[in-house]
């Protein structure tokens, strides 16, 4: 389907299946715990030819860069206006959350529409439009989606939100009240408590580790919001990504018309700072009495998106914790039955990001589960990855990239990444070949370089009475309650 509709675009053929011998492996000789390979299933080693759809690029009259990925399978359009410089990363130090509230409030009224009119019109058309950001993000994204027949109406509302928001006092007061209630509510979730503590220990005071608080909310005034919008919702460093049932020429014309008044504001050159170097390994316990599981996170700072180690680190992450065929899952779930799932993830931005492994394990096995997680991390550093496992994982990365092509949104995200980080034009065309060229030595070197035991931070959220003792074996334990307050030992 995808192949047929995209043949008009210039494309490159990717050889996505790599021939690997499917010689039966003797039972019990499996390189990975928890798995028995009988080797009888028919695996195709034919070369699957997949077309990588090409994005089209253009610049709007106001200088904003436009990236369009046409997809005419169904009559829908998605648009994201990404405003670099307006994200939570740029919150004033004394007003964390300002960017986030400003983004939420652009839906709450414009010069010609009330909050309720905006909501009613969007919902009537089954369309969406709204802005959002995160404390770690440099950008605020104004995104919208609609059926093609409603594109003009929805674009009208979305650009009105961008250009003419009025930030009514009454809506701001209501928003703050709702947010405060939600902040209380979030503390019931162990995953939230774990993320909050993890951000603090890995990123310190860097924006990537900040969380919204009720006190911070109280400080944010309407004047500050008006000012943030006036100065930072600027086209200076903005770009727009579009996917769906439109042509480049058509959408460019529509956007230029609706955004004619959106001109550069002379934002100073943007720059970001890395987080401070991570401190020595520590154990942080969040006491949640009554927990029947412990949420475990082990992580550290790693690399930014343009690091030459990126592809190798991505492969290392897939090997240790990428889905059910990753080592963490096979060991902690399939072999031990400690958890419903164990995975790893990495985040890479313009500044130094992080890598972490996590699992929710039953309280009684907190200590052995953590031991196994640490063992798996150590194995990445200390042991050469067996040949078959290594070949399997490379094929997995490349072939899953092929499957992701079913989603135009995923492909557009890839092209946005190559645009914002100034990656080579053929970056994604060459991605499979780059992955296939990685060696076991490279992966081990990256694991040694970044997953050093002396810098791994451990966060545990669980029933302190039952798990504190076991955690002491992994280092000095600092304990906090579910409100985030330190508990004296």
């Amino acid at each position: 389907m995808l192949k047929r509709t995209l043949t008009s675009a210039a494309f490159v053929l990717l050889a996505l299946t790599v021939t690997t011998a499917q010689a039966p492996v003797t039972q019990g000789m499996s390189p990975t715990k928890g798995v028995v390979i009988k080797g009888k299933a028919p695996v195709s080693d034919t070369v699957l030819k997949v077309v990588l759809p090409k994005a089209q690029h253009a610049d709007l009259a106001n200088g904003v860069h436009l990236i369009v990925l046409e997809d005419h399978r169904v009559p829908q359009v998605s648009i994201q206006i990404q405003m670099r410089g307006a994200g939570g990363y740029y919150d004033p130090a004394d007003m964390p959350g300002l960017a986030s509230i400003t983004a939420a409030m652009v839906s709450e009224g414009t010069k010609t529409r009330t909050s309720q009119q905006i909501a009613t019109e969007l919902d009537r058309l089954a369309a969406n439009a709204g802005a959002g950001t995160a404390s770690s993000s440099e950008t605020t994204v104004l995104s919208m989606g609609a059926m093609t027949e409603h594109l003009d109406k929805v674009l009208d509302i979305a650009t009105d939100m961008l250009l003419n928001p009025t930030f009514p006092d009454q809506e701001l007061a209501r928003y703050k009240t709702r947010m405060k209630g939600n902040l209380v509510q979030q503390r019931a979730q162990p995953a939230y408590l774990a993320q909050e503590a993890y951000g603090r220990v890995v990123f310190g005071t860097h924006p990537a580790g900040r969380m919204m608080t009720a006190e911070a909310l109280d400080k944010i005034t309407r004047d500050a919001i008006v000012n943030f919008h006036a100065t930072r919702y600027a086209p200076d460093y903005a770009y727009i990504g579009v996917t769906g049932d439109v042509t480049l020429a058509d959408i460019k014309k529509r956007l230029e018309t609706k955004l004619a008044r959106w001109t550069k504001k002379g934002l100073p050159q943007l720059s970001v700072a890395d987080p401070d170097a991570i401190g020595p390994a520590r154990v942080t316990l969040i006491d949640r009495p009554g927990s029947v599981q412990t949420n475990l996170i082990v992580g550290t700072q790693m690399i930014n998106r343009t690091s030459p180690d990126y592809d190798v680190a991505r492969l290392a992450d897939t090997i240790i914790g990428g889905g059910p065929s990753g080592r963490l899952f096979l060991n902690l779930r399939e072999d031990k039955g400690y958890t419903y799932g164990a995975y790893s993830r990495m985040t890479t931005l313009r500044y130094r990001g992080d890598w972490s492994a996590s699992a929710e394990v039953r309280t009684e096995v907190t200590e052995p589960a953590l031991t196994e997680m640490m063992k798996e991390i150590a194995r990445m550093r200390d042991e050469r990855i067996p040949d078959k496992e290594f070949a399997d994982k490379k094929r997995s990365l490349v072939a899953s990239f092929a499957l992701s092509l079913e989603s135009p949104g995923a492909i557009l995200s890839d092209y946005i990444v190559s645009y914002i980080y100034k990656l080579p034009a053929d970056y994604w065309d060459k991605y499979p070949a780059r992955v296939m060229a990685i060696t076991q030595d490279q992966v081990q070197a990256v694991a040694k370089k970044y997953l050093d035991a002396s810098r791994l931070q451990i966060v545990a959220v669980g029933d302190g009475k039952k798990i504190a003792e076991g955690l002491k074996k992994f280092g000095k334990v600092e304990t906090f309650d579910a409100e985030g307050k330190a508990i004296r030992q």
């Binding site: 996505l16 009988k38 829908q76 919902d123 089954a126 927990s291 065929s325 499957l403 309650d481």
Partner: protein, 370 residues
């Protein structure tokens, strides 16, 4: 189901799927279980081999079962026992239904899980995972004739089994309101759950109840959000809608209370919105919203091969009608404001409802502070 079969080792199924770029999973609800995978199209044989081998010869051993019981217990802890309101969902069905098939929790209690024997699992597998009780749907870049020939090659050798007994899908009419209060040590805010008995999702009334759900709680423009969340500030979050069920269903409403507000006021506000639907006017734009929303989610669903396969297999197993994927939208588009009012009057009555209120019960916490 991933611990191996005659020709596939324990864990080899998901290793092969993921190592070839795919993904897979399975899910169980009260009416059916499904298994699915996505793979690049040149791995069609692999997918058919894996699925047919386990349908033919799943390896149910004591060790495999013990490991999977542990896994499901962790799933239960993660999704039910360690979550605020985790027990509320289970308790709700337990209170609302009389029919044991719909009353009991899908994941089961720890005691249920411990009690499962190899013989239980083998017996269940033989009856319910038999080819005569299953539907197979393939969506993607395949040639139908060639694909069908392969399906025959892999699956036709698997013998049929005696048909399982027809499940009891009746639910006696409820004569008066049922009400329960639960204390939840993991919750931070009071939550109200209300449910009304409704018929199967096959009933035309279900389509009208879906439109009612859109009017009450879909999007910021919805009545619950505008009135209860924003103007009255009696809830942090709200929901109202029918649960899709092959048998007796429930129309559920949920509200989470902000600090300092009264649960009684929230409950009354929810009923007030129900009454406004029954006796007031449903605006044209509210019907248009439900229709556009149904169209858009239908269109979005078309872009995902997996989504289409899951929906068609469910329609095949529930109603023996996979073509519903093409006709269901028409049914929704035909719903009128009068239909919505009629089903609200018919089902949203005090005697037909179950109310469960979950209140936070702080555990004896270790005190914080320097």
């Amino acid at each position: 189901m991933f611990k191996g079969s005659a020709n596939v080792g324990s864990g080899e199924h998901f290793m092969l799927v993921y190592n070839n770029g795919g993904d897979m999973n399975g899910s169980t609800n009260k009416d059916r279980t499904n298994y699915f995978e996505r793979l690049p199209s040149n791995q069609l044989d692999l997918a058919l081999f894996l699925e047919s081998d386990r349908m033919r010869a799943l390896d149910i051993t004591k060790d495999n079962l013990q490991n999977q019981i542990s896994t499901v217990k962790e799933e239960r802890r993660q999704s039910v026992d360690n979550q605020a309101y985790g027990k509320t969902m289970e308790m709700f069905d337990d209170v609302a239904y009389e029919n044991p098939n719909y009353k009991h929790s899908v994941i089961g209690s720890m005691a249920d899980l411990d009690a499962a024997t190899v013989e239980d699992v083998q017996g269940f597998f033989r009856t319910y995972y038999a080819p005569n009780n299953a539907a197979l749907v393939i969506v993607g870049d395949v040639k139908p004739a060639e694909c069908l020939a392969k399906i025959r090659q892999y699956f036709e050798v698997i013998p049929s089994q005696p048909a399982p007994p027809e499940p009891d899908m009746t639910e006696p009419a409820q004569a008066k309101e049922k009400r329960l209060t639960i204390e939840d040590p993991l919750a931070r805010a009071t939550r109200i759950d209300i449910g009304y008995h409704i018929p199967s999702a096959a009933s035309p009334d279900f389509d009208a109840l879906s439109v009612l759900s859109s009017v009450l709680s879909s999007g910021t423009s919805s009545r619950f959000t505008q009135t209860i969340v924003r103007q009255k500030q009696l809830a942090l979050q709200t929901f109202a809608g029918p649960m899709e069920s092959r048998g007796p269903g429930l129309f559920r409403a949920i509200g989470i209370l902000p600090p300092g507000k009264s649960a009684g006021d929230l409950e009354a506000a929810i009923y007030e919105e129900f009454e406004k639907v029954k006796t007031g006017t449903i605006e044209d734009w509210e019907i248009e919203k439900a229709q556009n929303s149904a169209r858009r989610s239908y269109l979005s669903g078309l872009t995902s091969s997996l989504q289409r396969a899951v929906v068609m297999s469910q329609y095949a197993v529930y109603y023996n009608d996979p073509n519903l994927i093409n006709t269901r939208l028409d049914r929704l588009m035909a719903v009128t404001a009068a239909d919505v009012q009629r089903v609200a009057v018919k089902y949203l009555t005090p005697e037909n409802r179950t109310v469960v209120i979950t209140v936070p019960k702080p555990a004896a916490a270790t005190k914080g502070g320097e």
